[in-house]
Symmetry: C2
Subunit: 214 residues, 2 copies
């Protein structure tokens, strides 16, 4: 695992750099996902399941974004795929400059599919595109009944929503169905799948609905 | 309920304005709490319980921060205390200018204790003091085992930590005890109480440990 810090990030930011990132990934034949979601929603668990189930068919790489720790990267590295940790310090989102540095630290010739785990919150990453092909949110029923309504900017643009911790629907009195209804008002086209990050339930269905090439 | 938008906020920001807010609250005899935490952690539920249990002894006011909705303010208003909704739009934290505008929209002569619910994430509010006397985080076992370790800037400075949803410790395989150990490495002085935002368990103990005047 390599660690890149935000300080290494180029000063040039914003949409142009995100577009450049995507073009660069295209030239390398890498199809990339931005995986967003609140802290503890289960982003790392779902990425681990995706890696485990996809690594027979695709060459996978992962960038794990976090403020200061490496706990997520270490968990994903257990799957035997290349992982780069990107540290943002006090910043609440990955930015495209930092992502570019992280991408360049991966063995791109040996990667078909790249999962980029963003920093844990539903607000900042919605405002800062990093240059990917598809966007996914992992959210969980334990975040309560309002988490989709409260984050329209995030949910109106994503391609996939994994609603995680489905085993706790009854305990939380929050249903996947109710959250999906909230989502439909913001985003009629997103693919929504209930998942369990511990058992892997729902991940096969999620994979069936995902695209891995343009 | 009044609603103030971020646009109304003065341009002057930062620590000076936070200090001015605190001085202003002191002249009005108002003791203020910044209540922070991730989305769905239970900030609103715990504030509702605090209001319900304290309103016989103190005159309470509440400022509810959120991106765009009023759901939290409406829930707190059911307790019959003055509530101002502060909208931040796409911004991931309350700022002291917006808070000042919200404070000035409250009947301060009828308020002893003010709870200010910050925007739902553990990152941005840690970087932006708003001008209060005490800081509280409401976090929950359903945010997983790493949420304290991942947010040192937040947890090293707060006065009170309510670890919520204690009824789900076993289902999540996350214990209040383990989280408290993580916290102790960052912040030996914070008061930590396990709570249940549905039943109110732990809230009396929390209140016993809180200060309501300087």
């Amino acid at each position: 695992m390599r660690i890149v810090e935000l300080g290494e990030s180029a000063l040039k930011k914003g949409r142009d750099l995100a577009i450049e990132n995507k073009k660069f990934l295209d030239t390398k034949g890498v199809f990339a996902f931005d995986v967003m979601g609140s802290v503890g929603s289960g982003k790392t668990s779902i990425i681990k399941w995706l890696v485990r189930k996809l690594k027979g068919d695709y060459k996978i790489g992962v960038i794990a974004g976090d403020l200061t720790t490496e706990v997520d990267a270490l968990r994903i590295e257990e799957e035997g795929v290349p992982v780069v940790q990107a540290h943002t310090g006090r910043v609440c989102h990955l930015d495209p400059g930092l992502v570019r540095t992280a991408i360049e630290n991966l063995p791109l010739d040996d990667i078909d599919v790249l999962f980029i785990e963003n920093v844990g919150n539903l607000i900042c990453p919605a405002a800062v595109p990093i240059g990917v092909h598809k966007e996914m949110v992992v959210t969980s029923v334990t975040e309560g009944p309002y988490m989709i309504k409260k984050h329209p900017y995030m949910f109106q643009r994503v391609d996939y929503v994994a609603i995680n911790k489905i085993d706790l629907q009854k305990a939380m009195n929050v249903s996947v169905h109710g959250l999906e209804e909230d989502l439909r008002e913001l985003n009629p086209n997103a693919i929504v799948i209930g998942t369990n990050g511990i058992t892997g339930e729902g991940v096969d269905k999620l994979i069936q609905c995902m695209s891995f090439q343009q």
